[in-house]
């Protein structure tokens, strides 16, 4: 595939996705600025496989691992030390704090402050305060960034999960991973760029989670998180049918490919072809 074709593909994807994503025509016009398409990127480090091209910043990170720990210990017990809270332990919560707040099933009950159960310690040269239960994390305190500025309006599990993963409590929006894959692309032509591993807590998972937390929403389903499962096939339908061995499966794939009619794109994960996007839009 030559460069023109590649550009054509990019361009197609962009137009297509731009529309699907509901980006306004203005933004699109900018994205479609032919100057961007014609000119070689100023800095090769800014070249991108996603919709954002060139990238705004030269990337340093290669991948993002988002550990989403629904039901994990509170920020107040881990990374967000509130000395005042400790001082107020056992006392009623100040009204200035609770007034007008949605407090769900606690409505009408007396709310008391609850101090952290384990001490915090200043760690590293930066002096990040981290709970003493996490000595290993404390040992890398100067290499991590802790955001303590997050707020939420969603206080029930379901909308809160959705808010945390998609940025809104309204269902049907793409998850963060889908946006990243869409915006930045993935170097893996043949493997999913956004994978999800879900686990079961030791005491049994207490709350339901929903696939909308890694769904691509109104973006095409190729940006959907691919769930790796701990039982059965790691990815849905990845295993050959019973009674069909690997060479036989290959024969079928090859036969279909050889029947000049283009086989369904991307027949098997891991195959070495680069035209995985060729039929995008050509369906």
């Amino acid at each position: 595939m030559n460069l023109d074709q590649l550009i054509g593909i990019r361009h197609t994807r962009r137009a297509f996705l731009g529309h699907a994503a509901g980006i306004g025509t203005a933004a699109l016009a900018a994205l479609l600025d032919p100057a961007l398409l014609r000119a070689a990127p100023v800095d090769p480090r800014l070249a991108s496989l996603g919709i954002v091209n060139p990238l705004h910043f030269a990337p340093k990170a290669k991948r993002i691992i988002h550990l989403y720990q629904a039901g994990g210990p509170s920020h107040l017990e881990t990374f967000d030390h509130k000395p005042r809270l400790a001082a107020l332990d056992g006392q009623p919560m100040p009204e200035s704090y609770t007034k007008g707040q949605p407090i769900a099933q606690l409505q009408g009950q007396q709310l008391k402050c609850f101090a952290p159960q384990f001490p915090f310690q200043k760690s590293g040269a930066s002096g990040q305060e981290i709970c003493t239960l996490f000595p290993h994390i404390a040992s890398i305190a100067d290499e991590i960034c802790i955001a303590r500025s997050m707020v939420t309006e969603a206080i029930n599990h379901d909308p809160a999960h959705t808010y945390m993963n998609t940025g809104t409590t309204i269902s049907g929006r793409p998850s963060m991973g889908s946006w990243l894959l869409y915006g930045l692309g993935s170097e893996c032509e043949d493997l999913p760029g956004f994978v999800v591993l879900s686990s079961l807590g030791k005491g049994g998972q207490g709350q339901p989670i929903a696939s909308r937390q890694w769904h691509s929403g109104f973006l095409p389903s190729k940006y959907q998180g691919v769930e790796f499962r701990s039982t059965g096939d790691p990815v849905h339908y990845v295993g050959n049918p019973k009674g069909v061995n690997r060479p036989q499966q290959r024969d079928i794939v090859d036969a279909a490919a050889a029947i000049s009619v283009k086989v369904h794109d991307h027949l098997v994960i891991g195959r070495e072809r680069v035209d995985s996007f060729r039929s995008l839009g050509l369906l």
Partner: protein, 1014 residues
């Protein structure tokens, strides 16, 4: 590959984005000698670059300037006729970036030279502000004259030809017959044609062969299914509630209504009215009530601790979003928190629109109440039973001296009544889930050890006495249990789903369950109703003692072993943690404490001497006595049997969620969408103000008024929005590409006159959907080949000018239907509860409250069409999801069409497709001629509607022989392959041959061509 975009044309570009072809942006140029078109050329520009700060949203408006209202604009920055004297031009054309609008920090690109020139021309031409095209009611434009009069078959073609003519394009030739019948079948039914049908059509030389085919397809009951697939996305139909536990609700009758409406060609205005307000129509029929379930399709929550007010606000917003998107192509969602940035929808519009639905009865938090909707046959049965019941009841009400005397005796006996309970000490107590049941000295059973999710306790007693009339189960609190129990769940609760009693192996029915307390929705009666999904629970009274009493249906005989089985099916350890059993021989009724006292008015009446009682008291006592008098047991039994029959009919009647109107809730404008803020104005129902006002005098407008306006001539949107979506179904893309946005941010119609002509044609046909479909698919435009020549692909890569047909992958449901139809497995059954095809084990792993296990259906229900698949919102069936089916959480007017590795994996390995392949293989062997080339040819004809080329024949033949040799030596593999799926392997099949043909069939089912409509 598409050509590079000519930048000079961008200002006047019509952006066209295709989900279907490899093209992109096609400039629809407006000639320089034509006046500048405000709606199409200027407003989108101003909307993009300026409205954010100088538009409809007063909250963000800068410098008090509005560019969306002419009066304000011409009083300040625009001098009509004088571009050079207009401040607007000065600012947008400023050389110095500091002066230039839009400012750099807005992140909006400056206007290009061409755009500025366009604005200048527009001002010089008088700066006319015409309304946005979609907000002006459509008028029927004249059908254009065209040069080539031989090509057009109807009005559509003349508009299309005129467009092509202006571009110097000409239409593609008509597709061949076999392509046409496959295209028509897939488009109108979502199913492939049978080879015999294709042969007949290809051979039919009659002039009206095509028209006859269209009529046949339109009359097929599968037409409604095909249309429903689309509509159900728009209306966001699903089988579950969506939020949190995502539990089941019955709404499949709504799905069947949609199918039926399209099949019966219900006029679309009626279709819409019934959905918005079917319940409000005078003498609403069963189907109209079912249709009104549209208003109940939204996501709802059952989450504990969810706040009703918050969710009510969510539901209000959901309905506005869906109704406006589904019927108006409007993005009103934006106006929940602020006035719409680009379209004239205000926050007041948003909440006034929500107020239309404020009368709908629903639970803000909790399981929604289902409405029973007996079928006409069931209604007849019920009427008959009711009259029989009335007749028997007469016998019960008759007064006799014997009865009076018996009643007097009963009244006396009540004075000294007290139920004695004897504790039963178990001889043995076991847990099926591995818990340890320890019997204490006082007969209490303490549950210890492992905590299984679900559990069945089997408690055995020996040598029990005769005459037992009732059993008591005490649930006992205990400090070591969470919340002091008495259950083992994390909150101290339990759910006792079923209690069963047997004596010496013989089952004894239990009746009349009572309890000191039952949790809402978990009445104790559920513990003896034989249904594992109902049961007794006790929230919020955890940490307290509760007990339940069950009467035995008949006095127990003395038994050697009495076995009591306690089933806990709810999951998450909702099992009893400590309990004890007792028995009584007291005269029935035996009730739990608190439940056993007579109703208060009866106790009061009994306290009065018989001759002092007033008539009401006498009647009440007499009525009560009749309900327990042994003398009337026979009549009561008769009555109970009839009531049971009636209940059985009712239980067999399907249920759905429907709209039930009640007194409307107060709806306020929520500042910034904040449901905690009660300071906003209270609003009454109203349509968006810029679209008009409903004239209902002093009466509060209802959903029916909304429906009448929606389907009236003054609504500019509904007809355009829906004909555009119909068009998309048959051409792959709409005339307006943004099927979900007809606002100023949506794309402009490529053929505005055609769109209006279709809209008016439709309204004037009486909203006849089949008429519009017929019009579209009989057009010459539709019949063109989808094969783009090289030149055409370069000149019109996006196929904007329709000089060929589109080609696109089938919708997710039809990918399935197609494979099943080719194999012959597909069930033609229409409607009914949703079904469960094979699904990877554990896919529902994350569903909670309660945990659920997916059990796939057997027999015919395994092979139903894709649209009947159980639609679990949070975990939609992975095969459908892979092919871009919508999770139906929100309105989806346009599914993405993507192409992913997961799709190939589904086609290759999902047991549905492997099974379809082996059944297809059997069909090939059964139905084709005996030699191999005939078989391959047959397979091709069946799957693709064409003959194989020699090379294709050769490849499949080689594959067959290779795999035949392998399978002939590997009996075990053959056995495994032929065991995929539940369909029977035909008698007398030669296994290795069948297995090798399965490989051929799998290859064919995996072809891109098979899942593509050309």
């Amino acid at each position: 590959m598409p050509p590079a975009i000519d930048h000079r044309l961008l200002p006047a570009v019509v952006f066209v984005f295709l989900a279907t072809t490899a093209s992109v942006v096609v400039p629809a140029t407006y000639a320089a000698d034509r006046p500048v078109d405000y709606a199409r050329q200027i407003k989108p520009l101003l909307s993009d670059r300026c409205y954010a700060c100088h538009g409809p949203d007063s909250g963000k408006r800068q410098a008090d300037l509005r560019l969306d209202v002419r009066k304000i604009a011409v009083e300040s920055v625009i001098k009509p006729g004088d571009a050079d004297g207009s401040y607007l031009v000065e600012r947008i054309a400023a050389e110095d970036p500091a002066d230039r609008m839009p400012p750099a920090q807005s992140n909006k690109p400056p206007l290009t030279k061409e755009e500025i020139e366009l604005v200048r021309r527009w001002i010089n031409e008088g700066a006319k502000f015409d309304e946005h095209w979609a907000y002006v009611p459509p008028k029927r434009p004249p059908v254009p004259e065209v040069k080539d009069t031989a090509w057009p078959k109807n009005g559509i073609d003349r508009f299309v030809a005129a467009g092509q003519q202006a571009q110097g394009l000409s239409p593609s030739p008509e597709a061949d017959r076999r392509t046409l019948i496959r295209r028509l079948s897939l488009d109108l039914l979502g199913l492939p044609p049978a080879p015999e049908e294709a042969d007949a059509f290809a051979a039919d030389s009659a002039a009206d062969a095509y028209d006859k085919l269209v009529e046949r397809l339109l009359a097929s009951p599968h037409f409604g299914e095909r249309m429903a697939v689309y509509w159900l996305d728009v209306a966001r139909y699903a089988d579950t509630g969506g939020y949190h536990s995502d539990n089941h609700r019955d709404v499949w009758l709504y799905r069947d209504f949609v199918i039926r409406a399209f099949n019966e060609n219900e006029p679309f205005d009626q279709f819409i009215t019934e959905q918005l307000a079917g319940d409000l129509l005078p003498g609403a029929t069963r189907w109209q009530r079912i249709a009104s379930g549209y208003n109940r399709l939204l996501q709802t929550t059952e989450e504990g601790g969810a706040q009703p007010k918050e969710y009510q606000a969510k539901y209000d917003a959901d309905r506005v979003r869906n109704t406006s998107a589904a019927f108006l192509g409007a993005t009103m969602a934006c106006a929940e928190c602020h006035n719409h940035k680009f379209d004239p929808y205000t926050m007041r519009d948003f909440y006034s629109f929500a107020a239309f639905f404020a009368d709908i009865q629903e639970k803000s938090v909790g399981r929604q109440d289902q409405t029973r909707l007996p079928t006409p046959e069931q209604e007849a049965q019920l009427a008959k039973l009711d009259s029989e019941i009335a007749a028997v009841r007469k016998g019960l009400d008759a007064q006799t001296p014997e009865l009076d005397a018996a009643q007097a005796r009963w009244e006396q006996s009540l004075q000294q009544r007290r139920i004695e309970w004897a504790v039963l000490k178990p001889a043995d107590a076991k847990s099926s889930g591995g818990a340890v049941l320890e019997v204490l000295e006082d007969g209490t059973i303490a549950v210890k050890g492992p905590t299984p999710e679900k559990d069945v306790y089997t408690v055995t007693f020996v040598d029990t006495t005769a005459g037992v009339t009732g059993l008591r189960l005490e649930a006992i609190p205990e400090a070591s249990l969470a919340n002091q129990g008495p259950g083992r769940a994390a909150n101290g609760n339990f759910v006792l789903n079923e209690v069963e009693l047997s004596i010496d192996g013989k089952k004894v029915p239990l009746t009349n369950a009572t309890a000191t307390h039952s949790q809402e929705g978990y009445a104790v009666a559920g513990a003896i109703d034989g249904k594992p999904e109902t049961g007794w629970a006790i929230l919020p009274k955890t940490g307290n003692a509760s007990h339940a009493v069950f009467e035995t249906a008949s006095d127990l005989e003395a038994g050697r072993t009495l076995v009591l089985t306690l089933r806990h099916d709810y999951g998450s350890a909702h099992t009893l943690g400590r309990f004890r059993l007792s028995a009584t021989t007291a005269v029935r009724p035996v009730h739990a404490e608190g439940a056993d006292s007579l109703p208060q008015e009866l106790t009061a009446a009994l306290a009065i001497a018989p001759d002092q009682r007033n008539p009401q008291q006498k009647d009440a006592l007499a009525a009560y006595y009749r309900s327990i008098a042994p003398e009337l047991a026979g009549v009561r039994k008769q009555l109970a049997d009839l009531e049971a029959k009636k209940q059985a009919v009712l239980d067999g009647a399907p249920t759905s969620l429907v709209s039930i109107s009640t007194s409307p809730r107060t709806v306020r404008i929520l500042p910034r969408g904040n449901w905690l803020n009660d300071s906003g104005d209270v609003v009454a129902p109203a349509i968006p103000a810029f679209l008009g006002k409903l004239d209902t005098a002093d009466r509060r407008p209802t959903r029916l008024d909304l429906a009448r306006w929606m389907t009236g001539r003054e609504n500019p949107l509904l007809a355009r929005v829906f004909v555009n979506r119909l068009w998309k179904l048959f051409f792959g893309q709409g005339i307006v590409k943004t099927a979900d946005d007809f606002g100023t941010q949506g794309s402009l119609p490529s053929h505005p006159e055609l769109l209006d002509w279709l809209a008016v044609e439709w309204i004037e046909s009486g909203w006849d959907v089949k008429h519009m479909v017929r019009l579209m698919v009989t057009s010459a435009t539709y019949r063109q080949s989808s094969q783009p020549g090289k030149e055409l692909r370069q000149r019109d890569p996006g196929n904007v000018w329709l000089a060929r047909q589109g080609r696109f992958r089938l919708a997710a449901e039809f990918v399935r239907d197609n494979a099943l139809a080719i194999s012959g497995l597909l069930s033609p059954k229409i409607g009914g509860p949703s079904v469960k095809p094979y699904q990877p084990a554990g896919y529902w792993f994350h569903l909670n409250f309660p945990k659920r296990e997916y059990v796939h259906d057997h027999g015919e229900d395994q092979y139903r069409r894709g649209l009947y698949t159980y639609w679990q919102r949070t975990f939609l069936h992975p095969s459908l999801l892979a092919f871009d089916a919508s999770s139906r959480e929100e309105c989806t007017a346009e599914r993405a069409r993507s192409n992913t590795p997961l799709q190939s994996l589904v086609l290759l390995n999902d047991p549905t497709y492997v099974e379809a392949a082996r059944v297809f293989a059997a069909r090939i062997l059964r139905e084709s001629g005996p030699n191999e080339p005939e078989r391959i040819a047959y397979a091709f004809r069946r799957a693709l509607g064409r003959r194989p080329q020699p090379a294709e024949q050769e490849i499949l033949s080689r594959l067959y022989h290779k795999h035949y040799e392998q399978y002939a030596r590997d009996e075990a593999a053959v056995k495994e392959l032929l065991a995929v799926g539940e369909a029977a392997v035909p008698e007398g099949a030669r296994p290795a041959e069948l297995a090798a043909w399965t490989s051929v069939a799998r290859t064919i089912l995996n072809l891109h061509e098979t899942i593509t409509r050309y």
